[in-house]
């Protein structure tokens, strides 16, 4: 323990030693041990006492003087760790594949992956379905009672919420799409009406 009166070499005043240790620890790239601190303080200083005073001074502040191994270092106060994280939300338009898949699920639910592929004419990547499920617009429905018991996909409440729909039947039908000029041509018969139960039909049915 440093007692200024008894010390052979009188070091700088306590407050000054504390400032010095503060600057050293601030500038250091890693924790400093009291021995290292002492070797750089003027003769007659007491690094242990200075570190302890400094530690108390920073109690409850935004940074804390913490012990790491044999050394000491300043670190962000634990309760403020969130300040070192920044949440950045980037908004990106849904890819064409994703929006088409979403549209098919919304209009044809419950629908299997094979059916989505059939309608889109290309394979549906796992990533696309994952993305829609992650976005919480799509979830698994009941398995289809056909050989292989394939999973079906349905649209969620969150989907309806997001698109401002009271229910799946609120989705504009083909007639409205056509009237809105979104459909240029009359679809041929047999394609117009999505038939979720088509898969159940017998193999020889038309």
């Amino acid at each position: 323990m440093y007692v200024s009166g008894d010390s052979l070499f009188t070091g700088p005043p306590e407050a000054e030693q504390e400032r010095m240790v503060e600057a050293m620890l601030f500038a250091a790239s890693g924790p400093l041990t009291p021995a290292e601190i002492g070797s750089r303080l003027p003769e007659g200083s007491d690094p242990y006492a200075a570190v302890e005073r400094l530690r108390r001074r920073y109690e409850g502040r935004g940074v804390a003087l913490v012990r790491i191994g044999d050394g000491w270092a300043f670190r962000t106060a634990e309760d403020l760790a969130f300040l070192l994280h920044r949440e950045v939300v980037e908004t990106r338009p849904l890819s064409r594949a994703a929006i088409e898949t979403l549209a098919i699920i919304a209009y044809h639910q419950p629908v299997t992956r094979a059916e989505i592929e059939e309608i889109r004419g290309v394979a549906v990547s796992k990533g696309t379905l994952d993305l829609l499920m992650e976005r919480n617009w799509v979830r698994f429905g009941r398995r289809r009672q056909t050989p292989g018991r394939p999973a079906t996909f349905v649209a969620t409440e969150a989907f309806l919420d997001h698109f401002g729909l009271a229910g799946p039947s609120d989705l504009p039908g083909l007639k409205e799409l056509r009237e809105a000029g979104l459909l240029d041509r009359t679809p041929p018969d047999g394609v117009a009406a999505p038939r979720p139960d088509a898969a159940q039909a017998s193999i020889f049915e038309d």
Binding site: H85, L102, E118, I203
Partner: protein, 269 residues
């Protein structure tokens, strides 16, 4: 000097105003000419030898000092670069103008203005040197002043939120439906399962069919929904089944007309 391109002959080196000491100073400077960053730098050094505040420096004396320097270079056969000689010419001109009574009809800046301009440049250069030294004497970051030695990086958690509007959704669906209309024009996947493919597939599956299994269970998953594709798959798989029967690898059964067709592996005897 660039800003005064008027050319005058280099004077003959008469430096009556300088004593012997001035001469040897000039010689020392010539020998050290590479240590100067051009004529202005030398002029500033010469001005300092006048041991007065730069604001009180005698430009006339300075011109003479410079001309003595050029003369010394000649004597020592040291070749000076062109800009040194241009400055010498300009200073010789300035010196003569300063010594002669002003010509009433002379155009351009007066000798006094020219001298003032040179004095200004010398002061300005000196001032920049002084503040440069002052800057360097300041406590510098990483030498005497320090930033946090162990900065804690802010981690950026990037989350991508995908957006779409109802209109996007409707457009996408309309696009799909419209594409169906144009399907004849569009080179898509042919809705035909070839018998070869069906045979290959069936041969892989028949081994597990120990019991009677309906033909439809052997259809590929993605060929069961759309009617045209389903028809093609049924036909091809049926043809493949017949082929397997022919080869003695499978048995085929239909209980009555239009009933399901079933097949199973032919038990090895």
């Amino acid at each position: 000097m660039r800003d005064d391109p008027r050319r005058f002959d280099v004077p003959d080196g008469r430096t009556g105003a300088l004593d012997e000491a001035g001469r040897s100073v000039a010689e020392a400077l010539v020998i050290d000419v590479d240590g100067f960053e051009g004529p202005l730098d030398l002029l500033l050094t010469l001005a300092r030898t006048q041991k007065v505040d730069l604001r009180r420096v005698s430009i006339l004396q300075l011109a003479e000092q410079y001309l003595a320097f050029v003369e010394a270079a000649k004597r020592l056969r040291i070749e000076l670069a062109a800009d040194w000689l241009v400055m010498a010419a300009w200073l010789a001109f300035l010196k003569s103008r300063l010594l002669l009574p002003p010509e009433p009809e002379a155009v351009g800046p007066s000798a006094e203005e020219m001298a003032a301009r040179l004095a200004f440049r010398l002061q300005r250069l000196e001032a920049m040197r002084e503040v440069g030294a002052k800057l360097m004497a300041r406590p510098q970051l990483g030498r005497e002043r320090f930033a946090r030695g162990a900065p804690e990086a802010v981690e950026v958690d990037r989350t991508v939120e995908h957006e779409a509007t109802l209109l996007d959704l409707m457009r996408a669906y309309a696009r799909l439906k419209t594409r169906d209309d144009y399907a004849p024009l569009h080179v898509g996947r042919e809705p035909v399962l070839t018998p070869e493919k069906a045979l290959e597939r069936l041969r892989g599956l028949i081994g597990d069919a120990v019991d009677w299994t309906t033909l439809s269970a052997f259809l590929p998953d993605d060929w069961t929904t759309e009617p045209r594709r389903r028809r093609s798959a049924v036909a091809a798989t049926f043809a493949a089944a017949l082929e397997l029967v022919k080869r003695g690898e499978a048995e085929l059964r239909q209980d009555r007309h239009f009933a399901d067709i079933s097949l199973k592996r032919r038990s090895l005897s």
